[in-house]
Each structure stands twice: as structure tokens, then as C-alpha cells.
Amino acid sequence: MIPITVVPTTAAELPTTPSRTDFLSSSTPRWCPGCGCFAVLKSLTATYARLGVPRERLVTISGIGCTSRLPYYTATYGFHTLHGRAPTVALGVKLANPELSVWVISGDGDALAIGANHTLHLLRRNPNIKMLLLNNQIYGLTKGQASPTSPRGMVTRSTPYGVADTPINPVNLALAAGATFVARVADTNGAMMEEVFAAAHAHRGVALVEVLLNCVTFHDGAYAMITDKETRDDYALVMRPGEPLLYGRQQRKVLVADRGRLVALPLADGEAIPEQALRHDPQATDSSLAQQLAFMAPPDLPCAMGIFRQVQAPVYGLDPKADD
């Protein structure tokens, strides 16, 4: 009594090596020109094309927001649900048919204001679902109000005297929830998006990928420090498994731990990487170092990019009643 028959795609339907455009629908995306969403759509469809998953087994599920319009532009099955509720629908889809590859697309307001509870519970349960959190630090669709990731003091249409809240750090929160795969990428780096999306897919369990997304209309330049050519070396650190945590021009700064706290150690010209340099280990069961990396922010420390955590844990929804 399997509810549906999954018929493998035949060559007639999709080329054996499908291209990204095979995963684009015929609708023309309606984001503001220059919006970071275009880049995400591009990288996501490029990833879809590379996964080897037949198109009909991909399900793209979103909430409400500019970013949540994305499913309409893919040629997969899709569900544009309610504000903040995509994770709940996604979980139902995945539990009803574990064969499907389920992708949640969400915004910072969607996933962290009205929907933070569902995000949290999705992450702690560890179903094999991938969630992209497109964080532009603003409510785009409703034309520019503060979101839970808007930095303190930011003036928006709903905070004429500045935001008075402490912003949420999505990566840190995901780690606190016990998420087994957590990453951060920027909309400006298509190659890295594709790489990380593919890694998220390969991961058996839940994956949260924060995408730093530029909203040209209501919060342009939010991530300029981290993404601009001139500054990004100093303010962004790309984490690579097993490697020391290096950044800065010519990678001449390295992170070390001082009694459990992170410190940036400048390296002199030609100086070798010291013994105590921290090496990135996304597979560490204990996610506390990852949580520390997540909290890092310019100007004192760089913003960490890449995969913070990737560990194996029991996957939710896979025959929970079988093992007893």
C-alpha cells in the first residue's frame, strides 16, 4: 500500500544529463532587478540538475515572502504554503513519501519570526529535508519592515527610530536545535552555493543553509563587507574541513581558542601556522565550537562561511517502529 508509484524518469522526458534550464518553469521570475533571489534560483536549479534525482521526485516548498516565490520558477513539484509554515508541510510530504527529495525555501521573517518554532522543531527532529533560509534581514514582500535578523538600530518602515531587538543568528540557533548539517553561503558566490547545496543533499538528515541575500530595494548592501571584493578577505572566512581556520589577505590570520573563546592570531610574513591553530571539524559531535564560529561577526572577527556542522544521526521518519 505504498501511496504512489515512483516511476523513474525516462530519457524521453528529460535528457540523461539534464541541464539547469530543465528545472526552470516557464514562469518569468518577478523579483526586483538585481535581487539576490535570482542567483539562488540559478544555483538551486543548477544543483537540481546535478543531483540525478528525477524532476518529479523533487518537491520545492516555501512559505510567504519574496523569497518564497521561488518554487513557481522551478519545474519541480511545489507548494507555496503559508507564512512561516513551510517546514510543517514539508515534513508531512517527506513522512508520507520518503522517496521524495524535499527542499524548503524560506525567508528570515518566514523562518525566524512567525515560523521560528517550526524551523526549530524541523531541525531538532532531523528528517532528511533541506532548508534554504534566504536571509535579507528585512521583510521584502510587505515592503520593508524589521525582521528578526535586522541588526540593532536599523531604520525600517516599522522601526523609524531603529530596531531595538537583538537579532537572531540563524546558524547558531540551528546548532542549538541540534541540526546535523548547518552551512552559510552568500548569494554572490554561485559556485559555493552549488557546492553547499549539493553537500546538503548528500547529507542524510536535515540541512539548514543560510544564504546571505541582498535585497536591493529595502536593505541594499547589507552584506557588502562580507561580499565586496575589497573587503571580503578581511571579513569573511571560508571554513574547510580539516584545515586551519585562516582568513585575511593572503590568509595571514588564523583562529585559535583561548580558554574556550575564539581569538584571531595575525601571522607574520612567512610564519608557519602554529600548533594551537584551530582546525575546522564539521563532523565533531559536540557542536560548541561550531556555535562559536557561528557567532563571529565583523569587524572584530570574520563572518564564517561554508559548512559549520555535518554529523550523522538517526534520520527521522525512517521506519521509527521497525527498530524495536
Binding site: 501511496p3 509554515r85 510543517t88 508541510v89 508520507a96
Partner: protein
Amino acid sequence: MNQGHAAFDLPDPDLIQVQTLDEITVKFAGDSGDGIQLAGQKFALLASAAGETVRTLPDYPAEIRSPAGSLGGVSGFQVRTGGGGIHTPGDRIDLLVAMNPAALRSNLPELKANGIIILDESAFTTANLDKAGFSGNPLEDGTLRDYRVFPVPIGKLTRGALKGLALSNKQTSRSRNFFALGLICWLFPRPRAGVDEWIAQRFAATPELAEANHHAFHAGWNYGETAEYFVSPLRVAVDPRQRSAGVYRFVSGNAALAKGLVQSARRAGLSLFLGGYPITPATEVMQELSRYRDPDVRMFQAEDEIAAIGSAIGAAFAGALGATSTSGPGLSLMGEFLNLAVIAELPLVVINVQRAGPSTGIPTKSEQADLLQALHGRHGESPLPVLAAATPADCFDTVVEASRIALRYMTPVVVLSDLSLASSAEVWREPALDELPEFTVHRAVAGADFQPYRRDPQTLARPWAVPGNPGMEHVIGGLEKAGASGAVCYEAENHATMVQLRHDKVAGVAADYPATTVHGDTDARLLLLGWGSSFGAIREATDRLRQRGRPVACLHLRHLNPLPRDLGETLRRHRTVLVIENNSGQLWQLLRAEYLLDLQRLNKVQGTAFRITEITEAAESLLETLT
């Protein structure tokens, strides 16, 4: 004696002799630690096995635990058994078994005048009397003068019976319920051997308890036989209707709801997915489902009701029969998602086991006041079918019907049950899978002309194009959709068309209903009209009135939206219609708006079901005004 009427009329104690009763309502009551539920259930099962018709109603203490012996801690189990015509757990108690003063005090108002009280004298200590709020000793001060009281030192006798066993005082006291059960089993002769076996099985893991309960049970039985109180046992009439072959179960409303979901999905060849969140009195529905080991029966406990229904909608999108179960406060949280299911046109069964509201209200009391919410609790024009269950066993049939409609019409359906059905139980023959109605499932077929909102011309249902099937990739959502393509559409005329289509589709569900049939004369002067759990009381009231020669019929609605097409006609055939509801007149209001008829109403919003007599009295006085 009048079969439909209050049936118990025991002669004076010293005149007792073998006597067959048409029916009797027995209530076991004691402290929540006294094993009352177990004793009551066993008594009911034995009666049912003897071929009697049985309805039961447990009566749990209020949700917060109270000190032992206090009024707040009283637990009860009511059993009504008799030879047919039994549709409620009983208006009032004929025989009360009270294990302590609090149990006596809280049930006294429900005991019939001249009713019998069997009480555990050993528990009537000053401390317990105090806790129950008695100022004097009711056994002595005349409080019980209108009843026939049989004090039995159950505690002392049980201790005596278990003296040989190495048990603590507390453990001994735990067997008092078996003493009481033994005594009652002697009074209404039930086969002892069956009970012996059952005790052995049930307490197999704790042989010392099995032994204690065995001894206590027989001590109780023997006490009945030897004590001079009870000259002879009573006999209850057997239900004359022949039972057809099949599996019989004693089901509560909540168990029947769960079972109905499972069997509906199986019948449709689908897997079942229920997203739930605990809430009194609906929790058992999800708990029942959590016990299945069948991978095609999945219960997901969500983080809240919003996630519960959201996951069910996701599962429905993915091809399962989606369901959720909750009570009023939960339904109040689900409005936005229910609306999504309406516009996305996905098959979903939403069960609301109603309790007394508004707000947190009285979680342990029953009410039928969520009907208008089920119809209108969402923004915009958002029609969906609403059904209500009439009895515990009918919960099964109603959920099956709801699932049928959900799948045939691709729509969410709300099923209303309530607390008084949730834990009330009756004997029910589980239908085999192929006895269930056939289910139409609108599987979409890939092809050049596939469109996710192209409707079946007859049912107006859209096709169900389930992810995993190639060639039908599409995106649905909460934005208004264009006719057949389902693409997002903001166009004015299209919106009007879609609003109309959604309305017509739901209105069309009524095409499947059987003709409306009243119980009684089709043109009786007075029609008693009800829905939901008031069924039993209305039905029995009608029978009693008819036996008195009154021109009364009754009609019970399962389908509350859309209403049966011939309902207006039926209503107009009766000079007066009395709409009977455990709310302030919600169906009454709907029917007035629909048919412009000046209907009468009888409402009770006290957290408890109607008594049969409340209905007969109202009907009698209404009939008087008519002549």
C-alpha cells in the same frame, strides 16, 4: 414496566426476589486510585457478553490531581445495560457503588429517588467525611433517607479475605474494587469463571496482585450470596435483536474515530497520516494511532496544532489520506491552514472532539458549540463539508463518510465529535473492509491535457497529481488560481468564478446523501431535530413520547454542511420543529437562515449532555401549546 422509561424499580429489601429488569444504570464511584474504571469496564463487558445492550460513560476527576478522598478526586464509571432501546449511558443512576464519602456525595444528585446505594462502610471515617465536606455522617443523619442503602464494610472484608497474603495495607486496599465487582457480579449473575481467567491474564506480570484480586472478587461474590441483605440476584433483559456475525468490540468514540481513519485509508488503498497535538478530550485519537505498527498508518506528534494540520496537508499533497484531531482551542489555531486546504483542494479529515468553551473553558465538560466555527472560522469565502457523529460507534461511520467525501471531492472535511462521545463506549461490530463504501480517488493521469485544476465535471473535484509521478510537476499554494491551469491569477472575473466553483463543489456533496428519513411518523405534529451526541437522548425521548401516544418524530443530521437537499421539505411536513442542541442555538440559526422557518429550540449549555427527561418534558409542554 415501560421499556423506554426509567426501568429500575427494586422492591423493598426484604421483599427482594428474582426479578428481570428491562434496564438498569449502575455507577461505580470512588477515589481515582480505587480502580473504578477497571471494575466498571469489566462489568460492562460481562453484560455485553451476556447479550445485553450496554452504554458506558467514565467520569474522570478534573484534570488537576486532587488529594485522595476529596471531591475533586472522585472517579466514576457509569454502565447502562438492558434489553435494547438503549441509546445513552443513562439519565440517572439506579444503583450507586460508592467506595468513599466523596464518591457518595458527588453522585447523590444523580441518583434516582429510592435508588440503591452500596457503599464501603469502612471508608466512612471522620477524616474521609471531612474531606468530602459532610458535616455529619450521612449514614446516620437522615441524608440518605430517600434511598435504599446497603452499607458493606468492603475495606474490612477485603483485608480479611487477603489476610493470608503478604501484602501491605495499601496493596490490600487496592483490591477493594474487585470485592465490589464480585458483589455486583453476584447481584447480576455473571459467569465467575470468565472473570477468574481474565484476572489471571490481566495480572499475569504481577502474580501476587492476581491472587489478591482473585480472592477479593470471590469474597465479594460470597458476601452477596451469604449476607442477609440481598435475598436474590437481579436479571437484566437481553437485547432481542440478533447480532450478525463479525468481530464485536467495545469502542469509545475516540477509538472509533481512529479506527475509522485507518479503515478509510485502507479501503481507499492509501496510507494514513495523522498530524496531532495532545489536547483533552481528543488525545486518545492520536494515541490510538501511535500504536499501529503498520508503516502505512503514521501518527506524527507535532509541536503544535498549526504544525499538526500543516503536516497533514503536506501528507495529503504527497498522496496520503491526511488527517488531524484536536479540540476547540486547537481548531481555533487551524483556521489559516484549513483555508489553505480549501483553496489547494486537498483531501483532509479534521476531527474536532468538542469540549465546553469558549477559550480554555471547561476541558472536561462536553458541548456542541463549535458548529458555526467549523463553518465560518476562516477568512474569506471558504466552504467545506461538516459532519457530526451521533454515538461512539457512529464516530467510525462518520469518519468513513468524511474520508469518502474528502477523497471524492478533494476537499478538507470537518468531523465534529464531543467529549461525551469521546470516552463513552458501546459494543460495535467492526465492518470488514469490503463492507465499507467504495472510495473514489481522483488520481491524475499524466498526459498532454493534464492540468492541476481541471475539474471532474460531475464532482467538480480537481485531479490529485501526486509528487513522484512524472509529467505532472506543478506548484500549488494559497494564492487565487486560474481556472484549469491552477496558475496564480489576480484577475477579477476569475476570482468570482473560483469562489463560485468552490461553493458549488461543496454544495454538490449533498447529491450523495440518502433521503432524509425521520424516526416515527413522517408527518408527526412535532419533529425533534438534533445533531451529534444528543442522538441517544433525543431518540429515547421520542420513543417514550410515542409510547405515550404523542405525535412526535425525530430526525438526526449527520451532514451539517451542505444540508440535505430534502431537509426543507421534511421540516415543512411537521407543524413544529424543535431543534435540540448543547449550545445556544447554532444549527437553529443556520436552519432559520436557510429555510426561513420559525423553528423552536431547546438548548443546554451546562457542559453535560441532555437527559432524556429534559427532552420529553420540553416536548410535552411544547405539544401543549400546540393544541
